[in-house]
Symmetry: C3
């Protein structure tokens, strides 16, 4: 393990490389608002930063729950495997703390045949749910049961990180056959993709039953860097976006459930070319569809501006869901929401200046984009919620 101060000094000396990136923005925001450091980070200020941060992080005001309160967070959701017993969530629930930490049902490990250990995961799922997951019906029952369990701990949503947005609506017979094939590890890439596609439609069906909001985050070409994959394994950061089709990919699911107003299906993308061409027209048309905020590489000032410019005219504001970040860096949460609010406010201000909306509407919209839409889309209202 390298000396952290040395690593920090190298980072500080190279801080200029981050100019113009959102990482720079988030860091500066946190440095200033949390650590009162306003002189720019550089080789010269590196030690002062290090000392200040080290000191402050030891104070009780910097404990996670204290920061949660300070950040005025209303809800924080994790994404969790169906195999997770959610002990941490239970601990938080029973702790008496009033913070709201919700699990999100992320079934990739048990619905993606390309996931490492898929067959064992499905077996473990059966054990956990008390169902025979060697059978298609038992497998579905087990998934429904785990969804219910997540819901009991506050979950309001599911999340699906498939390589594509492909959906399918096969006959039960065909699906059973396919399930057998993937479980026996006899499915080629195409059949694995077909199974994932079918599972999105199954998840939509279950969402209609249990009310969980469905999110699809497709289009990442994972583990692009072969050497990093070989040396460190999956999910080490070498993920590159690919082209993503929604119009044809979502059709089977939409043919079945697209017109259901009781279903909420939130779409994300890493392919901005789909904003205007595919996503906005789809969301403008289908009652179940909503557009999630700019994601990942596009969770940034320019990314947010392009999102509003490209989707608003066709989908309107009310088919979007406000802003939720998906950071793993707890301290960056306020900065990210600050960026989103400023970006949206700038867009609204321009609409007012160009007489496309009135000022009182912009004020309304600012509130809706900040809290109203996200609370509604993710079903986060509850009795006695703060604010």
């Amino acid at each position: 393990m390298k000396d952290p101060r040395k690593v920090w000094n190298i980072f500080a000396s190279n801080y200029h490389l981050f100019r113009g990136t959102p990482s720079r923005l988030w860091l500066d925001y946190a440095f200033e608002t949390l650590f009162d450091m306003t002189e720019r980070l550089s080789a010269k200020t590196a030690d002062a930063y290090y000392d200040t941060i080290e000191t402050k992080l030891k104070q009780k005001e910097f404990l996670p729950r204290a920061l949660y309160e300070r950040f005025n967070i209303e809800v924080l959701a994790t994404t969790d495997s169906p195999l997770d017993a959610l002990e941490d969530h239970k601990a938080v629930c029973s702790s008496g703390w009033k913070g709201r930490i919700l699990p999100t049902f992320r079934p990739d490990p048990v619905v993606d045949p390309a996931f490492p250990g898929f067959a064992q995961n499905v077996a473990a799922l059966g054990k956990l749910a008390g169902e025979d997951t060697a059978s298609w019906r038992g497998y579905l029952a087990a998934l429904a049961s785990r969804r219910q369990y997540f819901k009991s701990l506050g979950a309001t949503a599911t999340d699906h990180g498939h390589p594509t947005a492909k959906t399918a609506d096969l006959s039960e017979q065909k699906t059973e056959w396919l399930f057998g094939k993937v479980l026996a590890a006899e499915a080629d890439a195409e059949h694995q993709e077909l199974f994932r596609a079918q599972m999105l439609t199954e998840m939509a069906r279950m969402s209609l039953e249990d009310g969980l909001v469905m999110q699809i985050h497709p289009g990442s070409v994972r583990s692009h860097n072969e050497q990093i994959l070989a040396r460190y394994g999956r999910d080490m950061g070498a993920d590159i976006p690919g082209r993503t089709d929604y119009v044809h990919a979502l059709k089977p699911l939409l043919d079945r459930f697209g017109n259901e107003p009781r279903l909420t299906l939130i779409l994300f993308t890493l392919d901005e070319t789909t904003y205007g061409r595919e996503l906005a027209p789809l969301a403008g048309h289908y009652p179940c569809l909503r557009l999630g905020p700019p994601w990942w590489f596009f969770d940034s000032p320019e990314g947010m501006r392009r999102f509003r410019e490209l989707v608003t005219e066709t989908a309107g504001f009310y088919n979007t869901v406000g802003f939720n970040d998906d950071t793993r860096a707890f301290l960056s949460i306020p900065a990210r929401h600050d960026v989103a609010r400023r970006s949206d406010a700038a867009y609204l201000a321009r609409l007012v200046a160009e007489h496309l909306i009135d000022e009182d509407e912009a004020v309304d919209l600012a509130q809706d984009l900040t809290v109203g839409l996200v609370r509604k889309a993710y079903k986060l209202q509850r009795t006695g919620s703060r604010e």
Copy 2:
């Protein structure tokens, strides 16, 4: 049939959902300029709006021809099936009214083998034209004859709404064989596409002969919503754009007629990614090509801005054709042209401010983009035309 006032009240109560969309813009413009309603539509003002609109629409100033004059419309073109006898157009022509309502030759029903009733349509075409459309030559003769008929009633253009921009230039023998196949309903999707592709090239050839301006509106995935299709049939609004290729798709037609300055082929798109990558370079290169204005979802302030930003540097202004809207809402025509003029004016103003063009050039261009280019591209000049 629902009570229209109730429907109107629901609409008015949800008017905020249209914030930021061009629909909102067009409506507000019409409310204000035609009905003198300047307080925003809402649940509160719904009844006042309803009463005013109801009253005004009964006045003779609100009859279509009165509005045509009031809107200062120079030409209004419909799109019509080759099977249409154009009785309405004849009636207008012989009515003595000086408005100019032109038909446009839209042969989809008789050139698209996937069109419902294609074979019967082709037979009807033969009957109407007095040609044997069971033979390839008779079929072509019938099309040429109907084009001539449209021309005799003022048509200056054709329009083609194919799913893709694919063209073909097959041998006559191959085409005859293909025609037999599609007529006998024995063609699969690929052969149907090939036939449509060949027909675009045939239409270009006829355009060279009869001078009709050719328009291609490709790239719409029609009837995306299965349930709406099953319940209400085709063309009920569930059309979603798809990716569209032009570079390879148009090559066969361009190989044959691309360098003909006497041919005018106007391209539209629902895939904005092609503006800079494909359409502007193609239009900049081929003498026959022009770029139509932003279409459908992009007939909007942002859509128009992006169009100019993405095509002007490569294609210039003079390979575009000014603005024509394709609305079915008569009352929205002035608003749409107002938006186009303001958008273009804003773009020109920026070029002047950045010293990329001079102010006198901007004034020239504003005139060209508003009337000059569209009159020329669509061959709409006529002796004694107004203005």
Copy 3:
């Protein structure tokens, strides 16, 4: 040959057609700064322009070397076939003139099996390098030898103009077999593409050895106009961009060399949809990758603005290489750099105005984007270089 004054007059009369294009910009800049012509070119001023330009071009201040000095050019690089003996470069080197004119190794004629005369080119390569290019090893040795020769005359880079960015990393056995096939003109389009793909990886390997910076300019659909191709041959201007994939195409090369900080691989594109989706994430991740400036149709004010807006947030400024134009019009060089500097300055100014960077950083960056990054990326520093 037409009377040049008449051609000029036709051009001058049509100068308004260039409004809003970069060609107009570059011309106006050259007219004003080089020829002191400030009244706009038009039919009226055509003769005065012609006379002035004719007179000035005969003055010794307008000889190429004088203009090179006047333009304050630091380096000018040509692209040359490996078969070129580079006699002109040798003549410049030995002339005592202090201008720096470097060759660039552009191996398309000997690595692209679709290049006219490929087999003869490979044979000529062998002769030139004293290697048996009928064998795979001899062929590689000959290429390495020619690279060395280019280097000896100052070359710091190679350039590759393939139709796609596809790379491959085949076994030596498979490559040898493929080489035999392409040399015998028995390869179909797919195998030709595979050979080009493999050669990019071979070139990267050689770059690691000899330090030449590698550039890929993919995505042009060459000779799109069939009639021009038939009449005038290749490279007569009818080149249209096509869609370009980088994420999958570059993977074989990146799997092998992507993490090598000693390799510099500069990517260009004619497909702007890849800026944010593919190129910026790839360049942000892989140590060897850099992004070249907006190329060809996008070497323009709007093109440059979009480039910065779409890549900076993900790749930062320091994974780009500043600006290099690729003009064939010597007199346009100052204008092109002026446009690039103004565009970048405008982007930096906006970042400062929006508090995304500080003003002193913008000043730094302006210097880096103008000279620092390009000198470093192309290894152009040398002892006693001007400035």
